[in-house]
């Protein structure tokens, strides 16, 4: 045995004993986890997986199944992380659009009021609001501003006494 093998062997032996003793996990789960760590430690390729299981007296089918479980767990974990990240980005973007739409409304209102003021003072100004029209603006306002307000209102229902009942959910 090489020094690396001895080191890995010791680490794995320790790990398998701990896994088997400290938890109620199944045999191949304990073996699978230990091997996975062992392969990582030894820098070996994953092709050694089934060979290692066979030497340890675990059937090929069990070895394949345990490997499949590890792969699926890994995939699920990655997908779950991606979901959390996308969810956060989605929330941030939704709020950003709402904020930008509020500014859009403020700017348009400013342009209308200021141009009226200019006309009243006899100042000639050229205003082109049409070039800044957004197609489907009503749907956007509904989606990002009004619907959110409605949802907020629905989440805090008013009781018969006219006070907000915080124990109820919308």
């Amino acid at each position: 045995m090489t020094e690396v093998e001895i080191h890995v062997g010791k680490e794995l032996s320790k790990m398998i004993r701990e896994l088997a003793k400290g938890s109620r996990m199944s045999r191949e789960e304990a073996v699978g986890r230990a091997f996975e760590e062992g392969l990582r430690l030894a820098g070996a390729s994953e092709q050694a997986w089934e060979s290692l299981h066979r030497k340890a007296g675990v059937s090929d089918e069990l070895a394949r199944t345990s490997k499949r479980i590890l792969d699926l767990r890994q995939q699920w974990s990655s997908t779950d992380t991606a979901y959390a990240r996308t969810n956060f980005e989605s929330f941030e973007t939704f709020n950003a659009v709402g904020h930008l739409l509020m500014l859009y409304n403020v700017f348009r209102s400013d342009v209308q009021n200021l141009s009226r003021m200019a006309r009243d003072r006899g100042i000639e100004v050229s205003v082109d609001l049409k070039s800044t029209d957004i197609p489907g603006i009503k749907e956007l306002l509904d989606r990002y501003l009004f619907r959110r307000e409605k949802a907020k209102a629905a989440a805090t229902p008013v009781t018969d006494e006219g006070t907000t009942d915080m124990n109820q959910s919308g």
């Binding site: 062997g9 479980i69 930008l100 859009y104 400013d110 990002y144």
Partner: protein, 96 residues
């Protein structure tokens, strides 16, 4: 092969709770369950990603008209001799 021998010996000395048949059965159930959960999670992620793309598209659309609108506000304020209190946010060339 020394490592494999050592491991095989170590593992064979451990007493596990269930028989290989029971283990295989429970492992297969675990695979089915994980595959189902993964499919559900992937589907949720796909839906959310699509929603995020729509938000990003809408954000870009609103952002595209804000500089022109802000410029009109600034021009009108200047024409009226009003003081411009805050620096422009969307007109890039006028930002410091």
């Amino acid at each position: 092969m020394g490592l494999e021998k050592l491991l095989g010996k170590e593992i064979s000395q451990i007493q596990f709770e269930s028989s290989p048949e029971e283990q295989l059965r429970s492992q297969r159930l675990a695979v089915t369950d994980l595959e189902k959960r993964l499919a559900e999670e992937s589907s949720r992620l796909e839906g959310l990603t699509q929603m995020l793309r729509e938000y990003q598209r809408d954000k870009a659309l609103v952002e595209s008209v804000l500089p022109a609108l802000e410029r009109q506000v600034m021009d009108l304020k200047r024409a009226l001799g009003l003081k411009i209190k805050t620096p422009p946010r969307f007109i890039k060339e006028e930002n410091p």
